[in-house]
Structures are given as structure tokens and as C-alpha cells.
Amino acid sequence: MLSIKNLHVSVGDKPILKGVNLEINAGEVHAIMGPNGAGKSTLSHVLSGKSGYTVTEGTVTYKGKDLLDMAPEIRAREGVFLAFQYPVEIPGVSNIYLLKAALNAMRTHQGLPEVDAFDFLTLVKGKVKLLEMDEKFLYRSVNEGFSGGEKKRNEILQAAILEPSMCILDETDSGLDIDALKVVAAGVNSLRAADRSFLMITHYQRLLDYIKPDIVHVLADGRIVKSGGPELALELEAKGYSWVEEQVA
């Protein structure tokens, strides 16, 4: 699905990622953990095409294509989805309008006709129910006045409608209390599928209690310094990041 080879990324003159290697196969759930400033968010931004980052070396291949060569909206239409750490507010634009515009952009890209209004409403209402959301959400302005939990749930709703192949979750647990975390995690779990991969970026182990990863990586100082099974996350939680950093040093 996604193959990252020797990825070096700078912001201005400052190198942030210094040779990241990562292979994600279809259906796998990977977690990337790491201390503040390790480059976790940079990785999610570079994969989704945010401006302001310079790739100085390395390649990223997605479904056999050069991902870094694609404009951000093309990546999205090809099935790369980023659930934002801080979802933005768009006053005056209703959620349902954004969802429809996004779905149609994707369908047009795939050579499909735009979705019929009635079919769309049926689809959206089904997903809203699945994620245990209130239908009123659909008619509110995108994220405007939403609580932290509502914003994150809204991101998952967008993923549920757009059905991406590669889902990047950037600190999805940040700003959530435990109840909200459970609901969001349940939403993510409902999206797990054999042809869909996840890359979860998180600071804390607790998210992984609810979304079980196949593989856990530790990102420190711009490199993946350790990879292992879910037990690695528990070990990290117990010993702290300094443990890994010491081992590497």
C-alpha cells in the first residue's frame, strides 16, 4: 500500500525527518509513537501534501505511484485521508455540503457520475447512525462551535463517507476525554478492512488500548528507531521515551 524509503524532510534549513523507512501493507494498522518534536506531525503533513516542507531525499510510493509527485487534492482523491489533529472551522459551509463536494470530487476523479442527492442522503444518514452521531451535525457549519470530541468524530465521519485506502490519524486522541476517545476509537475500528490501511500517530499509549495496532514504531529525532508488536507500546508507556533514546544513543 505505502512504501516510504529513506525520507528526508526539512522545514526551511532545518532537517526534521532524517531517513524514515516504513512499509505498510493493505489491511495493516501501524502506530507511530514518539516524543514531542520527533517529527510525527511532519510525517503526516508530508504524506498528505501540506505546503511548507521540502523533501530533500527519499521516495514515497503509494499503490505503485509516486505519492510526492501528486497535488494534495489528487492524493486525497486517490484515497489518502488525513484525520487532522486540529480540524479547522469553515463558517457558513454546512457539513453535509462539504461531504457532498468531497465525495463528488472523488467520484469525478474515478470517472463516476456525481452522486444522486437522494442516494447521498441515504448514505450519509446511514454512516451518521453507525457512528452514533446526531443528524443535526450535518447541517451545522464545518466544525464551528464543535467540542473537541465532536470535531474528531466529524473527521471519522468524513473518512467513513470517502472510504479511503490509506488513513492517517494525526493525534486523534489529543483533547479527548475517555468517553469521547472510546466513541472515536469505535468509529475507527468500524472502518478497519482488508483493503484499508491505517497509520496512527500518537503521543500516548492509551489510544492503542482501543485501536489495536499490528505494528508499533518509535520515531525519535527524525528516524524510526525501533519497531515491534503492540507490546512495544506498553513497554514505552512503562519506561518512557528516554529508554528508547538511550538505547539508540
Binding site: E73, A76, F81, I90, L98, Y139
Partner: protein, 482 residues
């Protein structure tokens, strides 16, 4: 500058779509203005004597006036003697009696503008008066309106057929001495629309006028007068375009609205005059005086405007709330790009008791443009319990444009409540990236964000105009904004 910021710049630099010129034979006066020109104009129009007197009075007063310079506008001096004050399609002598007799080329022009008159007559239920340069070309649906007693016709025709009505109301809201441009308009106005809604009549359809400046070096001075008699109701739409030309063209219109007891007037404008090119060459100078008087108790006037065109816009649709409990509303979207300048807003003058007004203004500045909101809320000493709410939002696109807000408040009645809220924001790169990450092109993302910003105003527009307005903002959004 980052990629996204550049993309925004490209997006907003879209070409003017209505920039075609219609090649038809016209009668045009040589440039210049004096009493002789005015007399000739009045004679061509076959006007009653009181009109010529009115025009000459206005002209003499205008000669004593100077252009206003208080607006936040940078204007090249205008040579009023270099302008032609009359231009009309040649077949003026035998004016068309029905659409079948209208020059097919003219009809073609309107089709390009998206106003198929013939189709509208059949389908849309919108009665259209189309003003091409200086004369009114066709008024559709006249018969049907006549049945309910509504008069909707070119003002030149009203002067012939209903002179007493015109005489009773013309210049009573905007006197010929009101301001420099209003005085000029009073002296030389060529055509425009006249509407009279009789007592107790709810106008059965939207009334609509399209203005187009076609001929070179002409000014367009249209005059619109709408009278809503007691207990009547009317919704009126106005659209404007002009061809692309290198020189600046002058447009100085006057619109007067009179609402009597319990009457409601809703006036919507989509203004898309040619804004000039990306270097600020050419474009329409748009100096417009629009004012409504809510003369009767419980009357209501609502102005909604979407201003995207013109090199310079100087326009303050206002409400004078004389009748007790009368209501004035102003909803505005003003978008400026490149070197466009807009100084626009409203005046709400509260005179009667319990009068209420609402002002919602959305300014969008892009490119190197300057966008100014200027508004006056005035509460007179007898306007007990008057209330005003003003919300004034500015959206900046890029970092070379300017947004300015000048709210003036004068209150002479202690029980009045006046509220003012203002915000200024930018389309953030985060918003843009978020939309792109959901698969939208940067162009669609900007459209969507701008549309969202303007939603409060767009929802005030009649359906068919709301769609046009969105398209005008450079949007490819189709259907409704959810």
C-alpha cells in the same frame, strides 16, 4: 509566498465573462453637456414640460457643485464634457411593441448574459425590463401585471403615460440637489424602470431589470422609481454588466423607493459592471445613490446587494424610517479584486418610533484592491425605542489588499439601542489545505469558503439571483449551498 497563496492569487484573477460588445447601429450624441444637450434629450424622449424644467434645475445646481472626496477612493479626474449623454439602438423611432420586433442581436446579447427574455416570459415568472445603454428595450409580462394594476415600465414611458404619478414622487426621496452624482443623474438620466404597486396588491411575480452599457464613451444614467402603495408587496431584482473597454465609463444611477403604510419592498442587486483589467486599466465608475423612504407605519424596505464589478463603487443604499414601527434592512456582499476600489455601505435614519434596522455587510478583498464599509446609523430625537444591529465582516484574500470600516453612529434618543459587531479574517492556509485534503481543488475550496462567508447575505437573495451571485464570485458551485 507559499504555493497556496499563489494559487489563491491565480484563482481570483479570473477573466471577465460578460466582456463582449454587441455590434448594432446606434444613435449617439456627440460628447459634451450643456443645456442644449439636455433639451435635446428631453425632446427625443418626448417628455412633458415639467421634466425639462426639473432637468435644467438639476443641471444648474450641479454646475455649482464639486465631486465628493470624502470616500476612501482614489479616482482619476472625470472629464464630464468627454462623455456622451445619450446612446440608443437606432430603431428608436418605431419602438418594438413585442419581443418579436426586438432586434435579434439585442436579444442575443441578453442570451449571452443569461437572460433569455422570451424564455423567461414563458417559464420563470420574472418580468424583465432590459435597459441597453440609454433606452429600455423590452418589458416582458406587461399584460399580466396590468391585470392586477401593477405598472412596470420604462420610466420614459411612465413619463408619457402616468406623468402625474411620476411628478408626485420623482425626486422626493433623492432631491435633485442631494449630491453631485444625483444632481448629474437628475439632469441627464435617460431611462430606467418605473414601478407602481397599487393598494393591497401583492405583486404576483418578481420584477427585474437588467442594465448593460454597450456603446463606447457613453455614460449610463438610469433612474428607477418604485412606489409601493399601502398594504402592497413587491420584490425587485436588478442586474448589470458592461463590455470590456480600456477607458473608464461612468455610471451614475439614482434609485428611489417609497413604501407607504404596511408596504414591503425587497430590492436585490447583482452588480457586475466591468471591473477593469488586472492592471487596473478601464472599468466602470459606479456612483450610485439609492435611497428608500419608509413613509408609512409598519412599512419595510430590504436592500440586498452583491457587488462584484466596477473599477470604483460608491454606493450607500439607505433607508429613511419615517413611519412608526418601520423596518430597514441592508444585506451586502462586496468583492474587490486587482485594483478595484469599493466604498460602500448604508445609512439607516431612524425618525419614527419603534423603528428597527439591520445591517449585515460582508466585504471580500483580494489582489491589490481596497474595500471599505461606510455606514451611518442615525436615531432622531423622536425615534423612541429605535433599534439597530450592525454586523460588518471583512475577509482578506492574500496580503496586498485592504479592508476598512467606518461606522458612524448618531443617537439623539436615549431609549435607542444600537449594536455594532465587526470582524476581519483571512482565508487561512489551514482551511485551504483541509479542503484540498478532502479532494477539493484549491479553486473550489476558495469558492466554498467565500460562499460560506457570504451565506447570511445570499440567503436573502431570491433563488435565481442567489445562484447567479455564487457563480459571480468566481465559484463553480452548482445547486444550493447546503
Amino acid at each position: 509566498m507559499s504555493t497556496n497563496a499563489q494559487e489563491i492569487d491565480n484563482l481570483i484573477g479570473q477573466k471577465y465573462k460578460e466582456g463582449f460588445v454587441t455590434d448594432i447601429e446606434v444613435d449617439t450624441f456627440p460628447p459634451g453637456l450643456d443645456e442644449e444637450v439636455i433639451a435635446k434629450l428631453s425632446a427625443i424622449k418626448g417628455e412633458p414640460a415639467f421634466m425639462l424644467e426639473y432637468r435644467l434645475k438639476a443641471f444648474r445646481h450641479w454646475q455649482t457643485m464639486t465631486e465628493p472626496d470624502w470616500a476612501q477612493l482614489n479616482i482619476e479626474p472625470i472629464d464630464y464634457q468627454a462623455i456622451s449623454y445619450y446612446s440608443a439602438p437606432k430603431k428608436d423611432s418605431d419602438k418594438p411593441q413585442s419581443l418579436d420586433e426586438v432586434d435579434p442581436k439585442l436579444l442575443e446579447t441578453y442570451k449571452k448574459l443569461g437572460i433569455p427574455l422570451d424564455e423567461q416570459e414563458r417559464l420563470a415568472g420574472v418580468a424583465v425590463d432590459a435597459v441597453f445603454d440609454s433606452v429600455s428595450v423590452a418589458t416582458t409580462f406587461k399584460g399580466k401585471l396590468h391585470d392586477v394594476g401593477v405598472i412596470f415600465c420604462p420610466i420614459s414611458e411612465a413619463l408619457k403615460e402616468h406623468p402625474e404619478l411620476v411628478k408626485q414622487y420623482l425626486g422626493t426621496v433623492v432631491p435633485e440637489t442631494d449630491n453631485f452624482f444625483a444632481a448629474l443623474n437628475a439632469a441627464v438620466f435617460t431611462d430606467g424602470s418605473f414601478v407602481y404597486i397599487p393598494k393591497g396588491v401583492r405583486c404576483p411575480m418578481e420584477l427585474s431589470t437588467y442594465f448593460r452599457i454597450n456603446a463606447a464613451n457613453t455614460g449610463q444614467f438610469e433612474r428607477t422609481l418604485i412606489i409601493a402603495d399601502a398594504d402592497s408587496h413587491v420584490s425587485y431584482l436588478e442586474g448589470c454588466t458592461a463590455p470590456m473597454r480600456d477607458e473608464n465609463q461612468l455610471h451614475a444611477a439614482v434609485v428611489e423607493l417609497v413604501a407607504l403604510e404596511n408596504a414591503v419592498i425587497k430590492y436585490s442587486t447583482v452588480q457586475n459592471w466591468y471591473p477593469g483589467d488586472e492592471n487596473g486599466v478601464g472599468g466602470i465608475y459606479n456612483f450610485v445613490t439609492k435611497r428608500a423612504e419608509c413613509r408609512g407605519a409598519n412599512s419595510k424596505v430590504s436592500w440586498t446587494q452583491v457587488e462584484t464589478g466596477s473599477a470604483i463603487t460608491w454606493k450607500y443604499p439607505s433607508c429613511v424610517l419615517i413611519g412608526d414601527n418601520s423596518v430597514g434592512e441592508f444585506y451586502s456582499v462586496a468583492l474587490t479584486n486587482n485594483y478595484q476600489q469599493a466604498d460602500t455601505g448604508t445609512k439607516m435614519i431612524h425618525i419614527g418610533k419603534n423603528t428597527r434596522s439591520t445591517i449585515i455587510s460582508k466585504g471580500i478583498s483580494a489582489g491589490k484592491s481596497q474595500n471599505t464599509y461606510r455606514g451611518l446609523v442615525k436615531v432622531g430625537k423622536n425615534a423612541e425605542n429605535a433599534r439597530n444591529y450592525t454586523q460588518c465582516d471583512s475577509l482578506l484574500v492574500g496580503d496586498k489588499c485592504g479592508a476598512h470600516t467606518f461606522p458612524y453612529v448618531e443617537v439623539k434618543q436615549p431609549s435607542a439601542q444600537v449594536e455594532h459587531e465587526a470582524t476581519t479574517s483571512k482565508i487561512s492556509e489551514d482551511q485551504l489545505f483541509f479542503c484540498q485534503q478532502r479532494g477539493l481543488s484549491a479553486e473550489d475550496a476558495v469558492s466554498m469558503i467565500v460562499n460560506g462567508f457570504c451565506k447570511q447575505v445570499f440567503k436573502e437573495l431570491p433563488m435565481e439571483f442567489a445562484v447567479e451571485a455564487q457563480a459571480l464570485l468566481g465559484l463553480s458551485l452548482e445547486g444550493s449551498v447546503g
